[in-house]
């Protein structure tokens, strides 16, 4: 079920009413309702893959309990590996099987020994990368004794399948979300209003910004040979806002909807395009994934504590794995490696934690230095996005070749004024709201009629400039 669909607008009020008016007195009933609603939400797409979520839930719940019963290190390690193998096994099969087979065939063909292994017609279960990482975090935290294993299977199932963030995150840590299922939720007006506001802003990002940018990004990327360098830059610019609007929009809706049910999810985006260097960008982009890799991969590998060699190795590993997590294609691996290359100079010169505050905090406008830093950071991420969006590495290189050609300074062949005006409006609102968790969080300074007028204005823009309905990009990851 898509957040931007009629089905969801029917589904959400029904679950909300049942949750607060029918099951509110019984915690177990509330958790059961969430689990059932989540399975309906997911099954709306394809009910067959519910078995994967159920199986993962049973395995990790059982392993959690078994980990509690034993203190024998080898047994504990074996249990942890069972969980890792089962979860990553599913992920590997559904997401990466064909990629590895194709890469193997290509490698042998290159060596003059053609192989004939057939690829499989596999459907990628929506959100598998997200819920796999979420359940893995539970087992790893229980193994590391950071978390008591739960004995409440219903609460655990609701945690794994929690519908607002099931298919595209934020990837929740068991330490944050699971305990919220143990205690009685109380409806808080301010939290719910805040949640509705975030849902509204998320929908605006998706329906107006992402879907409209997608139209032009698709045209330009699919016909890059026909356009000048300047238009190709515009195409990459549109894609940068498509993916930001799409993914952060989804996160906003997920967090906002969770608040309606009394849950508090982790922040996933913190105005990444206002970053002054790439290290800051990665602290602000897809935070739940970056911190997951930091805590469960980078730090166990030694992090940045060792020598230069270790720093280099760990940085490349984390960025390449992060790229590979996004999809089974060399383009994502190159995208990850490119970001590692951007990041390394900052890490090696110990400048990766220079910009930890909010840009131009307390001011309306940034300084010239900050503008320059933000522009450079945005431009290099733009170059990296070309690899992310391209169909193949060759496509990406040809696209970049087109950008850095003599036509870079020619007139744009495509210049949609309306969409660019909407983007300008969006960037201004995001800039003004950058001190908050999401751009329109702190609009209480407006009196009620103006505030409502602003909300209605956003809805009107959604009606008037709604793009072609598209699936959220991150569903495929």
């Amino acid at each position: 079920m898509l957040f931007n669909s009629i089905e969801f607008f029917v589904f959400l009020p029904i679950v909300f009413v049942l949750y607060w008016f029918v099951t509110a007195k019984y915690l177990k009933a509330q958790n059961l309702l969430i689990a059932i609603a989540s399975y309906v939400f997911y099954g709306w797409w394809d009910w067959r893959f519910l078995s994967l979520i159920a199986f993962s839930s049973i395995i990790d719940y059982t392993i959690g309990l078994l980990l509690q019963r034993t203190e024998v290190k080898s047994k504990r390690k074996a249990l942890l590996w069972i969980s890792i193998c089962v979860n990553l096994g599913f992920l590997g099969f559904f997401k990466y099987y064909n990629f590895f087979i194709q890469s193997l065939v290509d490698s042998f063909t290159l060596l003059g020994q053609p192989l004939s292994i057939n690829s499989l017609n596999i459907i990628l279960p929506v959100g598998i990368s997200f819920y796999t990482f979420q359940t893995l975090s539970y087992t790893i935290d229980v193994y590391n004794k950071k978390l008591e294993p739960t004995k409440d299977f219903i609460a655990f199932s609701a945690f794994v399948s929690f519908f607002p963030q099931l298919v595209a995150g934020p990837i929740e840590r068991a330490t944050n979300l699971l305990p919220q299922f143990y205690s009685k939720r109380v409806f808080k007006y301010d939290l719910a209003i805040n949640g509705m506001r975030q849902v509204l802003w998320g929908l605006f990002k998706k329906v107006v910004i992402a879907d409209n940018c997608a139209k032009y990004a698709n045209i330009i990327f699919n016909n890059y040979e026909d356009y000048s360098g300047s238009t190709l830059v515009l195409g990459a610019f549109f894609f940068a806002f498509q993916i930001y609007g799409d993914f952060s929009g989804y996160s906003d809706i997920a967090i906002g909807v969770s608040r309606l049910f009394g849950f508090d999810l982790k922040r996933n985006f913190a105005f990444p395009y206002f970053s002054r260097d790439i290290a800051e960008f990665w602290r602000r982009w897809h935070i739940s994934l970056s911190t997951w890799f930091r805590d469960y991969l980078y730090i166990p590998l030694g992090g940045s504590r060792g020598g230069i060699k270790m720093k280099l190795r760990n940085t490349f590993i984390i960025f390449i794995v992060s790229g590979f997590w996004h999809g089974a294609n060399w383009t994502f691996i190159v995208w990850g490696a490119l970001n590692a290359i951007y990041f390394l100079p900052l890490l090696l010169t110990n400048k990766n934690r220079v910009n930890t505050n909010i840009v131009a905090e307390g001011k309306y406008l940034p300084s010239f230095k900050e503008i320059r830093q933000m522009a450079i950071t945005f431009f290099i991420t733009l170059i990296a996005w070309v690899f992310f969006r391209a169909d193949s590495v060759t496509h990406a290189f040809l696209y970049l070749k087109g950008i850095f050609s003599s036509s870079l300074f020619s007139y744009f062949e495509i210049f949609p004024v309306t969409i660019l005006s909407l983007l300008l409006f969006f960037i201004i609102i995001e800039w003004l709201g950058r001190n908050s968790e999401f751009a329109i969080e702190n609009v209480d300074f407006m009196n009620k009629p103006i505030r409502w007028g602003f909300y209605v204005g956003l809805i009107v823009l959604m009606f008037a400039y709604t793009g072609e309905q598209q699936e959220f990009i991150y569903f495929q990851f």
């Binding site: 089905e7 007006y189 209605v456």
Partner: protein, 303 residues
């Protein structure tokens, strides 16, 4: 909680009012004319309606007889143009309709369109019979293979389409499908917009396929024979000219000629430009011009 629900309800009402205004101003959905069923059982439109097409690029008009398009200046030498959505043609402006295009090309006749989406082959004859009071000299029936099949109850019973029950030799007039819901939906533009924008049916979420015309083969030959025999005995066919869409079944055309119909078989195969919209099998303005050229040539040669 109650305060939250009250505020949400009030906000939804405010947003819906604003949305309704925006959808109407921007013409985010096409206006849909209201239909009635007249005393002869024929579905037509309430007279004298007008509305905007999608995005407000042009307006459509229902004339005082209840058919789309303008009335002719004179009813002398009147030629009726009977058809379905292809002739109704809400997707193109008035100058791309068959009546004005043919009037430009064949001066000796005046033309009147009597078309409505969903008109079957048998209903086209019912319409022609009703329009006899205007004393037309000819009737052009723009038809497709499916119009024949839809006309026969024995092939597939359809409540909303006028059909012939061959076994009982009886014409069953179509009924309007969910008229109440449609009336609400077409007047409540915002809801109609949502209905179009977010279809509940999963199939319609798939990206539309580009329309590629292909040659059709004759199906249900016995039922088509029964239909043609009924029409031959019950209606006047000497003044009817059947205008077959491109790629219609050749066997079907031959059958109609054998019964005694005059036939114009449209041909788009030698045209490098498409006659249809990319994702819709209806004709574009260009397509309508080509159709009018071929029909006009045929009318002149038979004059």
């Amino acid at each position: 909680m109650l305060k939250f629900i009250r505020n949400i309800v009030l906000f939804i009402i405010a947003a819906m009012i604003a949305g309704e205004v925006v959808v109407r101003i921007t013409h985010a959905v096409s206006d849909v004319p209201q239909r009635i069923i007249d005393g002869d059982g024929i579905q037509k439109y309430y007279p004298n309606q007008t509305g905007y097409s999608l995005n407000g690029e042009h307006t459509w008009l229902i004339n005082e007889l209840g058919w789309p398009g303008e009335l002719p200046k004179s009813y002398d030498n009147l030629v009726l143009i009977i058809g379905d959505s292809f002739v109704e043609n809400f997707m193109n402006p008035n100058e791309c309709h068959q009546a004005p295009l043919l009037e430009d090309r064949v001066n000796e006749y005046s033309f009147l369109e009597t078309a409505r989406s969903g008109v079957s082959f048998i209903e086209a004859f019912e319409i022609a019979k009703q329009m006899d009071t205007l004393n037309p000299v000819k009737s052009l029936l723009y038809i497709n293979d499916s119009d024949f099949y839809e006309s026969v109850k024995e092939i597939s019973e359809k409540q909303d389409i006028t059909q012939l029950d061959i076994s009982k030799s009886r014409v069953i007039h179509g009924k309007m499908k969910s008229p109440g819901i449609k009336k609400v939906l077409y007047n409540w533009k915002l809801m109609y917009y949502f209905y179009n924008r977010f279809p509940l049916n999963f199939e319609s979420k798939k990206p539309p396929k580009k329309y590629v015309p292909k040659e059709r083969t004759l199906k249900h030959a016995n039922e088509v024979d029964g239909l043609l025999n009924y029409i031959k005995t019950k209606y006047r066919i000497t003044d009817k000219i059947l205008v077959f869409h491109p790629y219609s079944s050749k066997k079907l055309i031959t059958k109609c000629e054998e019964v005694g119909f005059k036939v114009i078989s449209l041909d788009s195969s030698n045209d490098s430009n498409s006659w249809t919209f990319d994702f819709d099998h209806h004709w574009t303005c260009y397509g309508h011009e080509q159709v009018a050229n071929q029909v006009a040539r045929s009318l002149k040669s038979s004059h």
